[in-house]
Symmetry: C2
Subunit: 502 residues, 2 copies
Amino acid sequence: MIHSLTLSDVLAEHARSRPQVTAVVDGEVRLSYPELDARVTRLARALKGRGVTAGERVLWLGQNSHAVLELLLACSRLGAIFCPANWRQSTDELRFVVEDLAPAVVVWERSEAAAPLATEAWVEDYAALVEEASAAEFPTPATPDPAMPGSPGPDDTVPVLALYTAAFDGRPNAALLSSAALLAHSTSLLVVRQMEPGFTFLNNGPLFHVGTMMFCLATLQIGGTNVFTPSFDADEVCRLVDAEKVTQAFLFGQMIDAVVAANAERKYDLSSLRFVSHSTEWDEMTTPNDSPWCRSKMGGYGQTEVGGMLTFLGLAPGAAGFAGRPSPLVQVRILAADGNEVPSGEVGEICARGKTLFSGYFARPELNAQKSLYGWHHTGDLGRREPDGTITFIGPKLRMIKSGNENVYPAEVERVLKSHPAVADAAVIGVPDERWHQAVKAVVALKAEASAEDLVEHVRTRLASYKKPRHVEIVESIPKKGFTPDYDALDAAHGGGNYPGA
Amino acid sequence: MIHSLTLSDVLAEHARSRPQVTAVVDGEVRLSYPELDARVTRLARALKGRGVTAGERVLWLGQNSHAVLELLLACSRLGAIFCPANWRQSTDELRFVVEDLAPAVVVWERSEAAAPLATEAWVEDYAALVEEASAAEFPTPATPDPAMPGSPGPDDTVPVLALYTAAFDGRPNAALLSSAALLAHSTSLLVVRQMEPGFTFLNNGPLFHVGTMMFCLATLQIGGTNVFTPSFDADEVCRLVDAEKVTQAFLFGQMIDAVVAANAERKYDLSSLRFVSHSTEWDEMTTPNDSPWCRSKMGGYGQTEVGGMLTFLGLAPGAAGFAGRPSPLVQVRILAADGNEVPSGEVGEICARGKTLFSGYFARPELNAQKSLYGWHHTGDLGRREPDGTITFIGPKLRMIKSGNENVYPAEVERVLKSHPAVADAAVIGVPDERWHQAVKAVVALKAEASAEDLVEHVRTRLASYKKPRHVEIVESIPKKGFTPDYDALDAAHGGGNYPGA
């Protein structure tokens, strides 16, 4: 108990240590840490009255809002699990999540996104819940109430946040993260991002993704200010950065260009943003930041299951591998399918252990056993150690080809093919082979002239010989499923088969 | 297991992630991370051969050396506990430590400091141990060897380091720190000190104190370089800073003046030191650092039992309380003797919970129960929350006076008395009182003229009235035990008694 530190504990400390600091800004709402703490206590009591006890789930249907942070903290106070649903999903997809997670309470916000489900009898209106929580006279409990600050609360190793991840096995899965993992991850961001007291984060990215949530929580941990806006809107981002003196926002690539365009007339002062360099105009509007995180163009590798970022380019100045080096609170191993570590320079699965790791998926015992084989979390992604010890992320390990007893990962061969100047796109499949069980086949779309021999030679000089394609087929375009090749369609069209385990 | 991260795990990761980084420099010895990892593995095997298994203790008798870090890491690999003894102690004091800790192995270094004990039969020579560890052919074990890297090692919650602390209850006690606590504390230093890859720390302070050890471990965690020197020597510090491009050393006050004097002729380039401002000459020789840690003149509050620092002034720019705010990984409460939190502005005991806390004292079950009353670690120190939420450290809570049902802590009243311009030194005791049970009595040494009424009035205007002395006695000097007043002698000489609990 003496070593436990939950998200709720962090809030209880800030209520004492930072009585004058603004914790939350959201439209008209502006709360100091003591005010946020008091609201969370009331909300926890109201949720408890609806049967939300330790281990029960609370689902949020709505866009970004301070309600997301308040519900998460109230669940932490109760030992319950909070899940912000992806509001971009279809109603059918949302319905799957509701059935899968079986939440004790679903809280919705009056918005278009969540409207289709709000007709269900079990959905609670957040505004009504908060109103009731504020108004109700709660009796003082005779025994210590775990929802009360100061009394011994839940342990920090129990899950507190559930985030649904990509449907890599055909359905989305809810990754469970404990307070211990979330706070360890936040601390690693504080280190690499060199976040200081006074940090103000604009939550303009979706909070159902770990990318925004991880900064929201790091800002909470350092006692900074979280500003919420429903979703990305370039004008509103400019207005809020100016008004709230925002230090960082969830902005990348085209979003930055949109902000630059929205502020073309320099109507807003964005100089409080201490940001990575992007373009001349952007660099003029903002203040360049020299933390390792910004110096390294924010490179790294991560996924929800490791709490966010597993490796940081900022920890590896001049790195050979673009994913950089592991966070100070984890270990990484590049493992073969048999659990043995592959030598430096060879491709294997990126596996991890450490303080930031998730606690498995909700209600997926078999998948959890698979993912934690040999005591290491298997990310499902391929990587390689470079001679300088840094890590290169190769691509998702979607399927494996077995040729002459050797493992060939399509993603690795595709990466090399795509580095050929004449190749527009490429996919690699395994076709049945009498002698080798499977042979590597490349399906390639060209943007300039190149012979099959050219392409095979390009791979042969860059990878182990058994990885080079034995067959090459030129096509107009590669069929896709989201961002990845549609391997089932490719197998059907180009004779794929004999995959190991199939 | 998947969430565990021991000191040994950190080393195993660095051996992969930082194959070209120098981990250790000590005289002629210069080891990369893979070399350090290999030495630690051999050392762990040699220690195991001498009966050092999980939970057993290994004691080091010697000055600073890379051996300290190697033995600590080898113990981490075995689940054993490492203790670097205070080599400034008398032989009798060292003998108490040996009997108290009952180590399986005592390792000594051929030095004057450790010589008196080295005649004992059970003392191992470090050089001989390392030689044997390097030469021996260890059979490959049939079952996974927990001393082997890669195999599941001990959990990170078991103690790995024992540091003896002040004899506040009449004998020194060994505070036990786990890998989890040490690495959480290191991470808080990485945050506040903004340590980056490439950090090089000169271990010139004693490694048997948490003050130097905590920087040694933070340097290990970020994958930097630890330079060892037996003890503080100003010339040697200059030489090593220049030769190894040291980023930080364990230097304060007079030590800095000595380094400035040693480098008066600017023989050495000390510009790699990114340090806090101290004097014009020092600031010219070194590079000013603007991390929160340095900006705040390194203020804060800590003790071995919390892993090092509990609060940092660097986390509280413009703070009212000089101890600043808690590290991001702990909670602090100012508690009354009954376990209730005292209101802001009132003095109570500084109590703590969180990731950096120790695991109790070795073999002190009763003391451990006392120190962790109500689920909070009781530091034995008095503090106060200021209106801005920051913390002021008042002084050690050595004893308490009970007057009219109110608690009066001598340290608090003494602090105020000593702020009077005429007071050279002061001590406060409780004397029996018919009406109030005890009355506050001040024993004061003066450096200028002042009346008893002046002194009482000085306290009355600064503290609650019941804390002001009802009796004042002027003396030549205050008897001391170490740095604190000798209260037993004061009670005997000035009529003290009726203490609560006595």
